[in-house]
Symmetry: C2
Amino acid sequence: MKALVYHGPGKRTWEDKARPTVEKPTDAIVKIARTTICGTDLHILKGDVRAVAAGRILGHEGVGVVAAVGAAVSGFKAGDRVLISCITSCGTCEACRKGMYSHCAKGGGWILGNLIDGTQAEYVRIPFADTSLYHVPKGSDEDALVMLSDILPTGFECGVLKGQVKPGDTVAVIGAGPVGLAVLMTAQFYSPAEIIVVDLDDNRLKAAKALGATKTVNSGDGKAAEAVRALTAGRGVDVAIEAVGIPATFEMCQDIVAAGGFIANVGVHGTSVELKLERLWSRNITITTRLVDTVSIPMLLASVASGRLQPRQLITHEFALEEFMKAYDVFGNAAREKALKVIVRAV
Amino acid sequence: MKALVYHGPGKRTWEDKARPTVEKPTDAIVKIARTTICGTDLHILKGDVRAVAAGRILGHEGVGVVAAVGAAVSGFKAGDRVLISCITSCGTCEACRKGMYSHCAKGGGWILGNLIDGTQAEYVRIPFADTSLYHVPKGSDEDALVMLSDILPTGFECGVLKGQVKPGDTVAVIGAGPVGLAVLMTAQFYSPAEIIVVDLDDNRLKAAKALGATKTVNSGDGKAAEAVRALTAGRGVDVAIEAVGIPATFEMCQDIVAAGGFIANVGVHGTSVELKLERLWSRNITITTRLVDTVSIPMLLASVASGRLQPRQLITHEFALEEFMKAYDVFGNAAREKALKVIVRAV
């Protein structure tokens, strides 16, 4: 089969690889129908994620058709259309039984396209299939459902749930990439009064406006924190959600959060940051981190089915599977290409 | 009247001051029966709390008798025995109506012995008396109740509530000073499985054992984090509570918290700290800060009345009001004097 393979920093190829087979009784083999590229894949290609070995097939998002299942799989059979969670979960360890699938102690967690081969291929092996796959409801827009593998649960669980967004709140979302926009979309479940979106890219801010931002701030002048404070009459925001992953944006969150507020970190960070405890110790602040657990996928599927959530709005580009190298070129130059999420389809 | 007066860094005197009078209709004047000294008073004397002006009477804890009330005070009358909250609250602003009295927007918050004259005197003026005083239940041990002005609500609200201590949890309390011990005592309301107390001082660790610590770790060898991890079979603790206020102990909390755990900051910090987001971003951690609001005083009064909570255990030394300078000498050398809380009584 063909697959997108990582060969060390800066090197990727579209090449022939062996088709995966059932290795354990709890495995399923899924023929990929639709997949996409994540900002995390770009991080891997920069060499930022050292655990990823050369030769690894990338990708942790997708929708497909079950091709084969191991003897212990009871919830899925060949021919079933499935949504693949970016987080694999055994369902039985202490962490999984708490719903913290990201910290699965029996070999799950974020492993697809990281510690085992991923979804940017014709076929993928999914361990613990019963607890790592979801049935695609009949009549679904499967392009849209690919957004439920990772970015929508990530934005919702790490940003909205951890930030405890409530009706009437003023929320700031720092970063309007696909995950920041997923925060913006799912924050609206809880009817905050204001959602202020901050980014460097006017095109992304325009997308944010279309997706429900009540105000936008371009941070290019280095004065975004002042601008957000001015928009809240100096009070600051109830919830500041960091969806970038660099010290400057995490520090901005500390500068704009109101007393009693929340800073929910969504971004993937590569370095430590300065926590201004000399100012924050008395401000009744809650700071949270989380790796997505994808426990919200069933809720998100119901929200898409009802039309309440429309993830197709995040898709800007479409490619065929054999155009995967081109899809990376476009997604890797997101600002120039005005790209949000790309969808890659098997014919 | 006599009072303990701050005259700039390192300078305190026991001197004559004018007796306070009702200035606003919501004021009460309280004759102090019992008061104490807080670690924060020592910080003020070091010059760490710049808002405190020379000439200020210190102190924010105490029990006394109402001497006079303004025309608008409805809940208290002359002769009532009262517990003074370290936090003054107007009860009507947005913050107070949310129960966040520490951030009272109409002149309340932590003002006693800070922005206005405090309780280390024969008399004190209490603004917003209806919402800043509590009736002393008949037959109370009033020495014990002085611990409810600040340290017990602080330990409980900033440590135990913010850390969401639950039955079965493993909790670490970093720092076994009076506030750390208040955390230890009130954490037991929620029946955690283990409470590990960390301190440099063996005498304080012995006190912690007597007050319910299941394990203690002396951090003098610089390997306390490793010791705590070993006590939890490498897993880390569900809740790490920082009750010191320096970067080293906040960093220790980051090193010992389990995935999915809480770091509740109680300490007063004078500098920023390094937040290891490159490791913590994916660990599903919640970090909280809070200035005590004293919303828990009614609950704590009920717990003392029932005998469930015995704050007298925190009192190691007793002085008469005219011995205030000596009381400071002892409390300021707590390790040498084996002092926890001192009680200072009017005759």
